[in-house]
Amino acid sequence: MLPEENPRPPEHINNPPGNPLLEFCQLLAGISVMLVAFVAVTALAASYLAPYIPYRWEPTAFHDLETPEEFQSAQTELQALVDELAVAMSVPAKMHVQVHLIDGEPNAFASLGGQILVTAAALQGLTSENGLAMVLAHEIAHLKRRHPIAGVGRGVVISVVLNAVFGASASGSAAALIGQTGGRLTEFSFSRSMERRADRDALAAVVARYGHSRGAYEFFQNMLGKRAEASWQLMFSTHPMTEQRIAAIRAQEELNRGRDLVPLSAAISALVNSDSGHGPVLE
């Protein structure tokens, strides 16, 4: 027996109703949460494991950096201070800490291969060696604790994971990305806990050297004066809660009332008091 006519196709079976936008949002949210969690865990693992990379494998960034002629003598004095601090902070001998005095925005940071970069602008307004020693000891502490390699390791791992997920086509191959990251060594960031540890080490080193911590806050105070907290996020974004840090350092200051500050050495003193176009770059 033939049927009268074809059955009407049921609409809800082969193409059940649904809202594609809602589905899209649910998928995107779920996958984003998983991705963020995965990247966070991987990055954390990388920053814990990276310091186990042998130090001699660390590439030396900035080793061929040329110091402007007018900074030469000041840099020699900075290097002498760094050497003394490194010995006092028992930095391993194979880790040769090298400091560079450069032009640019007020900034001081540590990088791969035992390099410390300080801009002349960052030193403007310093009056004592104590404040300078605090900054240098802070950066030496980063180096001693292998924070730069941890930061770079974290950055590379994040890039690789994101690249693997979103495909290499979006931003070049993974290898190129690692190369890029390597080329932007100054763009990694230290975590807050890294900064706190470096601060603690530095303060201990300053106290060990001068017998007190007076003047240690000078550099940070100076930086605060030069740039509003909001705008120097750019360079000190990873140095959180500066007011809090100064307060902590100051609490110790109370104990050190009346202790003598050590004056800056001659060339550095000349540099920080000069107005020869190397003043702080203000925004």
């Binding site: 027996m1 006519e5 074809n6 998928l27």
Partner: protein
């Protein structure tokens, strides 16, 4: 602003394509379904059967091949959503509507072909599907769905093999 545009050019292109895909894809799909339902109603009397044997009612009708084929492209939004779906798994609802439309449209085209021949029914319905063009490692681009069967045309005698000349 210009800097922002330059830096996020890829993202903006992506959003533009996804938005365009969603708006136009939704509109096209809606229109297509309206047209499909209307024509299905019009052609309901032209029977489609999966039966291979000729039913007694159609005995003596001429049988001839009829086919309906359609190619439907996936839109960009569907590609994106299916890309996300492919990570977590589950029902690809974005493609389900696409293929549902393709199957029904193929049937309609086959029925139209049969109707032009004056057929009363189509026997031995078969579907075939293939992925064609534009995938480049990014899911399906477009699909072809082909429906074919034997149209049974009344009033004409089916050509029978002439056994006397066969030997």
């Amino acid at each position: 602003m210009g800097n922002f545009l330059a830096q996020n050019f890829g993202l903006l292109v992506f959003l533009f394509l996804a938005f365009t895909g969603y708006v136009f894809g939704r509109a096209a799909e809606g229109r297509h379904y309206i047209s499909i339902r209307k024509r299905e109603q019009e052609l309901r009397h032209l029977l489609i059967l999966t039966e291979k044997q000729v039913p007694p009612e159609l005995e003596g009708y001429a049988g001839t091949l009829v086919a309906g084929s359609v190619v439907i492209s996936v839109d960009y939004f569907k590609t994106v959503i299916s890309g996300l779906r492919a990570i977590v798994g589950g029902r690809m609802s974005a493609y389900e509507s696409l293929l549902d439309r393709a199957r029904r449209e193929a049937l309609l085209r086959m029925q139209t072909a049969a109707a032009e021949l004056g057929a009363q029914a189509i026997l031995n319905l078969k579907f075939e599907t293939s992925r064609i063009s534009g995938n480049a490692g990014r899911g399906i681009g477009s699909v072809e769905v082909l429906a074919y069967g034997t149209a049974m045309i009344p009033g004409r005698h089916a050509p029978r093999p002439d056994r006397t000349h066969a030997a």
